[in-house]
């Protein structure tokens, strides 16, 4: 099963602004961009042409792995607002 189908089962109330704010200057010089690999919701994608980290924050499962794994420690990670983000029905 592909991830998109998995995420389709998750209930989200997305905010209009991201609760995940990477420091893109650090991302540019980051050697492994591990966030693009380990995130269980594939929130992060590296845009090679624009040299920019794309953050699909709407898909975030709020686990916090990216914050801890970030080699550059340059990810501002907050909880979404009280009414926003993921709602697990079967956690």
């Amino acid at each position: 099963m592909v991830l998109e189908d998995k995420l389709f089962t998750v209930k989200y109330t997305p905010d209009t602004v991201s609760h995940l704010t990477p420091d893109n200057e650090m991302c540019k010089i980051c050697t492994n961009r591990i966030c693009t690999k380990i995130c269980p919701a594939n929130v992060y994608e590296w845009d090679e042409t624009h040299q920019k980290l794309i953050v699909n924050f709407e898909n975030c499962l709020e686990c916090g792995a990216c914050r801890i794994a970030c080699v550059k420690q340059s990810l501002k990670w907050e909880y979404p607002k009280g009414t926003k983000g993921v709602t697990f029905k079967l956690g």
Binding site: K6, Y79, T87, F88, G91
Partner: protein
């Protein structure tokens, strides 16, 4: 800041730790506000699958008759998966009262929170605590998105990521090796099909603890739980392993689901929900400072997890309760300084919580060092032994034993085996020695 926003105790986070803490305080007649960031208690909470009967009863004596439970677990299976084969050890006991129940957190935590409200807890949902308020380095309250709340004591039960404990310097940032990233799926299946496949009846439940398979050589374990009309399957892998290998956790779960021993159990099921969560795995050595002036930390926020025994919610509940008892004493003495709140640490140390964490304090270090042995080579060896033992191919048995032993020593260097034994003894000694 108005005086009517002042309460005796604020608890941040409505999970097992926070709710147990808040309800204990409310039952003693004190004013307590419980703040939860999710739209309801349980909506942000994820775990493997089971709550434990005895500790839960300490907080909710009648939960077995009133809480939303899925199944009472009568069987534990320990499955050692090779790439294609497996050895499964099972312990089943249908006659004794169940030691644990599977639950769905969105239902169970919500029920616990309702019980807390009935006891007088003031529950504030949909509210994120942005920071702790301090005065002369004493915690005096919390700042939410909308308003400030003040209290004599603030108890942090805000989960594994506890940004608040970090804010006031009680906790350092978690290292990738001290936390596991877990992904899980709840797969819908007919109740009768579940009962047939797991050889259980009625509301009986079966737990699988899974070693190896796609996680061979990695610091990671899989799990399966039976719910009423669904099966939970998931795995947790130490984050540093995922980082080093650059692998995706859900790819590993897909591999696990395809394993010949696992696939028939979930066949034909429909994915109901996918989720992910972090599990604190640092153990005793990574437990943060548990208290400071006006504040205490409980549950996952305090890294209180016994990963070898799949225990977390029980440590959360009991730590929450002990923090509450400490808060009540502090309220009676009207002294909220670290000196008084130190009692919480003492209570934890005298309880199974810290005793168990201390028992396994060397476990993760050795597991990190020896994952190629205990989570790979010896798992394969177990399967290899049974493969040899059960095969019928006209090769004389004595020859087979010789071949098996020969292969055992050929495939792992003698020095490594000595080192494995040494670490095994060291681990056993660290577990069994009397303090």
């Amino acid at each position: 800041m108005t005086e009517n926003k002042k309460t005796d105790v604020i608890v941040v986070g409505a999970g097992p730790a926070g709710i147990s803490c808040a309800i204990t305080i409310a039952r003693a007649g004190k004013k307590v506000v419980l703040i939860e960031r999710g739209s309801f208690a349980g909506s942000k909470n994820v775990f493997g699958g089971a709550i434990y009967t005895q500790p839960t009863k300490e907080i909710f004596p009648d939960f077995e008759t009133s809480a939303p439970l899925e199944r009472r677990n009568v069987e534990h299976k320990f499955a050692i998966l090779g790439e294609d084969d497996s050895t499964v050890v099972s312990y089943k006991n249908k006659t004794e009262t169940a030691g644990s129940y599977t639950v769905i957190r969105a239902k169970f935590d919500r029920w616990m929170a309702e019980e807390a409200k009935k006891a007088g807890v003031y529950l504030v949902e949909k509210t994120v605590v942005k920071e702790l308020l301090t005065e002369n380095s004493k915690v005096t309250g919390v700042r939410t998105e909308l308003e400030d709340y003040c209290a004599d004591i603030v108890i942090l039960a805000d989960g594994v990521n506890s940004l608040l404990a970090k804010q006031i310097g009680l906790r350092e940032d978690i290292q990738p090796k001290d936390v596991a990233l877990s992904v899980k799926e709840v797969i819908k299946l007919d109740k009768n099909i579940i009962n047939d496949r797991f050889n259980i009846s009625d509301d009986e439940g079966c737990i699988y603890e899974i070693f190896g398979g796609p996680m061979l050589g990695m610091l990671g374990l899989g799990f399966m739980y039976t719910n009423r009309n669904s099966i939970t399957i998931g795995l947790g892998i130490t984050l540093s392993e995922l980082v080093e290998r650059g692998i995706r956790p859900y790819d590993m779960l897909e591999e696990l689901k395809k394993h010949p021993t696992i696939a028939p159990l979930i066949k034909g099921g429909e994915l109901e929900e996918y989720s992910a969560h972090l599990i604190p795995e640092g153990g005793y050595n990574k437990v943060p400072k548990l208290f400071a002036d006006g504040v205490m930390i409980a549950g996952d926020a305090a890294m209180l997890v016994n990963n070898l025994h799949w225990e977390g919610t029980n440590l959360a509940m009991i730590s929450g309760k002990l923090a509450a008892e400490t808060a009540l004493e502090a309220l009676n003495k009207n002294d909220f300084s670290a000196k008084t709140l130190r009692l919480y640490e003492e209570k934890l140390k005298n309880s199974f919580v810290m005793k168990d964490l201390k028992t396994y304090k060397d476990l993760m270090d050795i597991a990190h060092k020896k994952s190629d042995a205990f989570l790979d080579y010896y798992l394969r060896t177990v399967n290899g032994f049974f493969k040899m033992f059960t095969s019928v191919d006209s090769v004389p048995k004595r020859q087979k034993y010789y071949n098996f032993v020969g292969t055992f020593f050929k495939e792992r260097k003698f020095m490594n085996i000595i080192s494995d034994i040494w670490h095994g003894i060291r681990l056993l000694w660290s577990i069994l020695k009397w303090y």
